[in-house]
């Protein structure tokens, strides 16, 4: 153990390349100033007058409802995105058809399209007089200005995460296992369900976690379609903005701390999943 560590140290010393101290020093400094110190400040603010004010701020009906809506809808959106993510990735990896390149390129649209543009487009699309709002209203379904509007926007924003995590993994799966399953008499559906699905499950989960994290924190594309009725269709990030406008820094920091903790946990879970995937290979 000691000799191994020694070897590592020696190897580090023997580097002929210059700029280690400068590049690492600058990176850590920049990361600290732009990201780490501000995020640490948030936790300090949330708890600086103790745990009781924190719980009081979180426990008000309006805040509790917003957190419930954000977490709940983000979870449903992650499930929908995973389901369609598997289908879209499968179609893109396994099938050949005209316009495949276009379908592939369009998947990145929610990454590239500014959230506010997506937000007003979705809002106009599902509004009672919109392209989709009119036929839906004829069936008595309202999407815009209800919690379901929040869901639609979250599904939109999360789709590329599930598709893009799955694509390379599906491409890497060897056909030999599938051939073996087929030779042993499995039907195609059995092969997909019992041979392919278990292999891609960790990847589906990590795509879902990313989509969940993004949906949870999403602001721009959600607030226009949501209608933002307090305790009904008001998401947690919007409540942070409202609290800041009222100069309620502690209240805003409390909600922020809950959401930031969730983001950290997801990041941790993702690293765990990567480790799991690595071990299975």
């Amino acid at each position: 153990m000691a000799s191994r560590r020694m070897a590592v140290v020696l190897r580090g010393r023997r580097h002929v390349l210059p700029g280690f101290g400068l590049s690492l020093g600058f990176s850590i400094f920049y990361l600290g100033v732009i990201v780490l110190i501000p995020l640490a400040a948030l936790f300090v603010w949330a708890f600086q007058s103790g745990v009781t004010p924190f719980w009081t701020a979180i426990g008000t009906p309006r805040v509790a409802a917003a957190l419930k809506l954000s977490f709940g809808m983000a979870a449903i959106a992650a499930v929908i995105d995973s389901l369609f993510g598997v289908i879209v990735a499968w179609v893109l990896v396994r099938y050949r058809f005209a316009g495949k390149g276009l379908l592939d390129a369009v998947i990145d649209l929610p990454f590239a399209l500014p959230t506010v543009v997506a937000g007003i487009a979705l809002s106009a699309l599902y509004a009672p007089n919109g392209w989709l709002g009119v036929p839906l209203a004829a069936h008595g379904i309202r999407i815009a200005y209800t919690p379901w509007g929040v869901l639609v926007a979250m599904v939109f924003i999360g789709l590329p995460f599930t598709v893009r995590t799955l694509q390379p993994v599906l491409g890497d799966i060897g056909r030999d296992v599938e051939e073996a399953a087929a030779t042993l008499g499995a039907t195609r559906l059995q092969t997909i369900g019992k041979v392919i699905m278990p292999q891609i499950m960790p990847t589906i989960l990590s795509g879902a976690a990313m989509a969940f994290a993004r949906a949870l924190g999403e602001y721009g594309s959600v607030i226009f379609i949501a209608g933002n009725l307090p305790a009904i269709s008001e998401i947690a990030p919007l409540l942070i903005v409202i609290k800041l406008e009222q100069y309620d820094y502690t209240g805003a920091a409390a909600i922020g701390a809950v959401m930031l903790s969730a983001a950290f946990l997801i990041l941790l879970a993702l690293n765990g999943l990567q480790f799991w995937i690595g071990k299975r290979r």
């Binding site: 700029g19 690492l24 990361l31 400040a41 948030l42 390129a105 649209l109 506010v116």
Partner: protein, 284 residues
Amino acid sequence: MTRKHLTLPTDDPIWLKLLLGTLAVGFVGLMLILPLALVFQEALSDGLSSAWIAITTPNALAAIHLSLIAAAIAVPLNTIFGISTAWAVAKFDFPGKAILVSLIDLPFSVSPVIAGLAYVLIFGMRGWLGPTLAGFDIQILFALPGIVLATMFVTFPFVARELIPLMTDQGRDEEEAAVSLGASGLMTFVRVTLPNIKWGLLYGVLLCNARALGEFGAVSILSGHIQGRTNTMPLHISLLYENYDFVGAFAVAALLALLALVTLILKSLLEWRYADALAAIHRH
């Protein structure tokens, strides 16, 4: 033996292909393409000249100007950070490397609203440094520095996360050879490293820039929404939409949507033309 219908046992049956293909195309069409089509339709609903008037009002031009300035500051800074971090991570071994790499991705999993909030807690009038800075007449919030900070936070990982896997994959042999032959550090970087990473770098800068011009949540908190002064393009769109100026809002939105489309096209071209040079990025 007929060669026409040679189906492999690993091919999906035709009904399954049709079902999944229809679901995939239908879902993407409904969820992604329809909103995009609506942006352009709404923007041009009163004709091209109305749309042109909407994007050339003084307030719209000021917003475009401000967005470009913020991106022109944030993108180069994040590019320098990305290159510097990738150099440290890819070319050297040090303890805590894995932690550093996962911390870089943090802004991707954190809400932009959280980023805005964190800066308000530090620089706001009731924040830690706000009163002190106000004493020196330095304004961060509701001014350009705040907008730039917000943009920097949300676009922070783009360049670094493209370059780290790419440069790790390329190893350090070529650079070590250059240095042992007497090249200086800077010369090694410019002549050896840069040509190897240029397409990956361009790819990262492209995505970083698109996100910088489109950022809404974090900038919205830090800008103060002063028309003609601290409104960026996305904030201007939101203001027009809230004031029921739909043609105006969608006209400016169409401008950003065009930028997104150009970004997607360039990205696809890069991926197609330089697939080998970018392969490392997509393996991770």
